[in-house]
Amino acid sequence: MTELIKLTAAELAEKIHSREVSAEEVTRAHLDRIAQVDDFVHAFLHVNADGAVEAARAVDARLAAGDAPVSPLAGVPLALKDVMTTVDMPTTCGSRTLEGWRPPYDATVTRRLREAGVPILGKTNMDEFAMGSSTENSAFGPSHNPWDHARIPGGSGGGSSASVAAFEAPLAIGTDTGGSIRQPGAVTGTVGVKPTYGGVSRYGLVAFSSSLDQAGPCTRTVLDAALLHEVIAGHDPMDSTSIDAPVPPVVAAARQGLTGDLTGVKVGVVKEFGGDGYQPGVLRSFEAAVEQLRALGAEVVEVSCPHFTYALPAYYLIAPSECSSNLARFDAMRYGLRVGDDGGHSAEEVMSLTREAGFGAEVKRRIMLGTYALSSGYYDAYYGSAQKVRTLITRDFEAAFERVDVLVSPTTPTTAFKIGERVDDPMAMYLADLCTIPSNLAGNAAMSVPSGLSDEDGLPVGLQIMAPALADDRLYRVGAAYEAARDAAAGGSLVHKVPELEVTK
């Protein structure tokens, strides 16, 4: 592999903007890498070679004309989760239902990326409609973890995390409803950030659970995540839940963190996330990370968030309920798959036949679960109670953030599990998001930053950092400081320990 793909996005931007390399060269290097390894990784559902090269050339042309770069990431290519609409590429959400669907509009995130001169390499694989923690629920086959081909790269955004870990892209976009950015980040040794809910526009993000979904960056370094965060975040009048306030100064915070001093920062360790059910190697890695933070000058205290243990059950009521409604539109009438339109079947029958054929088992399971939870006789016991738990979890966060600046926990209880291991056991699969879900329910910001490799299986572990709503910058300060200290202690960048991948000649 060429040296270019090993660089961070920040380094690539510097080289492109100083015209040491062209954006086109950078994009082509990544397209070449995709051609070489993606049969093996299967991070992409669609590769947009021509479009990406064209966008890169446009950046080069502007720079050649003496114009300033349109954004700090102009010319640095990116992989886009296939849940964001794109006019020039299909948007499938990993579902048969939308196979080949070409939206007539761009998502706001897509538009912002284009406006920032970021070439879009293609669309990444995902669990169908973002429901899952492994990408095994993709209708188009699972993605593989670059650290171990037999293991999952996390989910739902496993394609995005795998593409970044496999050096197919320096940057990717994920979406996080219950952990779908952070959990894949944790199991692939990459950085993943779920911004404050409302920080990044959801317009054009195909909804799974509207009150939880949030798009964010997937990268190999904290600074790269900050740079991407600033490109995609900000108020959007097309999204009523978008926050009309300045984007937190995340790039400045990351740069501050890189100076390596956390004196005065109070870190709370969530007492409820640990113990039984957690892989010992994950806990050891987490404890070492906490020590590292202490060594950087942070004050570490234990904090109890007693209702966090109710987050998982609340999530598995709220998300399925909202998805049962959001996915009702896939009815074979206006777009997408249509099955059984043979003149004999009515519209109603064609809807049912199509939805049966177009959706995978996990999607059907959640639609039925949500339909049940919203039914008039059960609403109060299920959906209504889950929304109350949401209040309790928000209060836990508020109480905690009165005492500390950030909270930390392992991102996920285990390292990457084997493909196939949990497919027939939904409850076991759901446990992967145990620690990430509270921040979705409360809407605050959270990040996963790699905390090295588990000593028992050599697989990446994630440190989760959580900050109050609109204080996303704290994640970046703490995350960047920790990352620098971790690499210094290990004598090199973690992600460069990814094994060499099988290459398609």
């Binding site: 070409r102 059950p313 598995y316 777009y335 009515s346 399971r365 039925m368 109670s385 928000t394 409850m427």
Partner: protein
Amino acid sequence: MPNISRDEVAHLAKLARLAVTDEELDVFAGQLDQILDAVAKVGEVAGQDIPPTSHAVPLTNVFRADEVRPSLSQQQALSGAPAAEEGRFRVPRILGEE
């Protein structure tokens, strides 16, 4: 909390417009029962005095000015249609009320 029966699952599938197979019914009934059993835990702490949270952002009154924005062209609107005719989406006969 109640055990969910196979018939109930069949009813849910009908409400959700999913033409599930008999085999799926068996699998889903077992799984949904297990999941519902686990999530019913929310009832333990959801007291009467706790207000529900429907939105994660504390926003109100987000309005748009009543100004026309460009629409899609008819061709764009119909571009994803499984079938179209005379500028309209063509769908199988609609049963039900008139």
